[in-house]
Subunit: 207 residues, 2 copies
């Protein structure tokens, strides 16, 4: 049986039910930890599922922040220091990564609270996650205040990458299923993935 919902059906759903449903609609989401530090040296770590590829020349990633909800210290630190790190979440620490979504006070380092290790490299001010096999250092380039709700779309340029060489193929493809990077769906479901196939560049006359 198929369920159909109109705009007014959606608006009248219970708030929690709607949050679960709408968060699941986009499909599988990336699972990353964002590391930042404020000007007093306080480290912060926050799980995000909204990192998205924006372009490869220049090499830029974007992320949606809802500063009134969880990663507000993260957003504030990026605005203040202009640096942040994005670190893949893997199967062996996804539960610790999820725990960073708790509302810890600003003077608590989520690294310490959940048992992950801050690590510095490449001259980047923000901390990386030592346990992560894909570590990306970024510098803020642009931020857009979304009008229809209190969120921000933040774009950073990739200025440092560290990853396991064994996860790269000869043409630069990162085989993230081989390093147990996880995917998120909805607000609280975690997944691992298997490869179905790598498909050739599509042309109108191919089939």
């Amino acid at each position: 049986m198929n369920l159909q919902l109109t705009a007014s059906d959606i608006q009248s759903l219970d708030k929690r039910y709607r949050a679960n449903l709408i968060n699941g609609l986009s499909g599988f989401k990336s699972a990353n930890l964002i590391g930042t530090k404020d000007h007093d040296g306080q480290e912060n770590l926050s799980i995000v599922s909204s990192v998205v590829h924006v372009g490869s020349d220049p090499s830029v990633l974007g992320c949606i922040f809802r500063p009134n909800i969880v990663p507000r210290h993260t957003y504030e630190n990026i605005m203040a220091t202009e640096y942040f790190t994005i670190n893949h979440i893997h199967k062996d620490f996804y539960q610790q990564a999820h725990q960073t979504s708790a509302r810890y006070p600003k003077n608590v380092s989520e690294f310490e609270a959940v048992g992950l290790t801050p690590d510095y490299r490449g001259g980047i001010l923000a901390p990386f996650v030592l346990e992560s096999q894909v570590k990306i250092g970024l510098k803020l380039v642009e931020t857009y205040d979304i009008k229809c709700n209190p969120t921000h779309f933040v774009i950073g340029e990739i200025v440092f990458i560290e990853l396991a060489e064994s996860a790269l193929d000869d043409e630069g493809r990162l085989l993230i299923h081989q390093i147990d990077t996880v995917a998120i769906s909805g607000l609280d479901q975690y997944h691992d993935a298997d490869i179905l196939g790598q498909l050739p560049y599509a042309k109108p006359d191919s089939k």
Copy 2:
């Protein structure tokens, strides 16, 4: 062995290699088909991996478009008609979905070219994909022109949803691994996913 790349290392990579690498860095991506129609009735269907959750009140999704590359007809149609559909890609038709990324001329319907079925419902002007088990109808609300590269961030409000009731749990969670929704990584890798766990809402004193 870990590979480290600085900003200048990244900039000096071969263009194709860099595109593969940077496209893989964000982690797993959503796999969706966007359906649109122009004012002359010409249908268009385009695979996108950049749909991202923006908020659930109002219920809005965003998507990055690179109009100079593939889904340019999609972007033009959304700007002209203000309506589009987002449809999950499942394991049984991911190869057909990938084929929509070929550069067909504007007068060719990708539905017809790849063998998927346009379907209309909910009074939405844009076509849905009949074969998809999660069909979302959206109305354009905002668009942002990204400054650092020629892309647009387009936000639509969800005005219609159709999905299999069996894929929903009692609290509104969509169990997309049960309906074989696929995930993308990089430019050309397709994955299916298994659930690792559903975790409780995190609080500072939970562990």
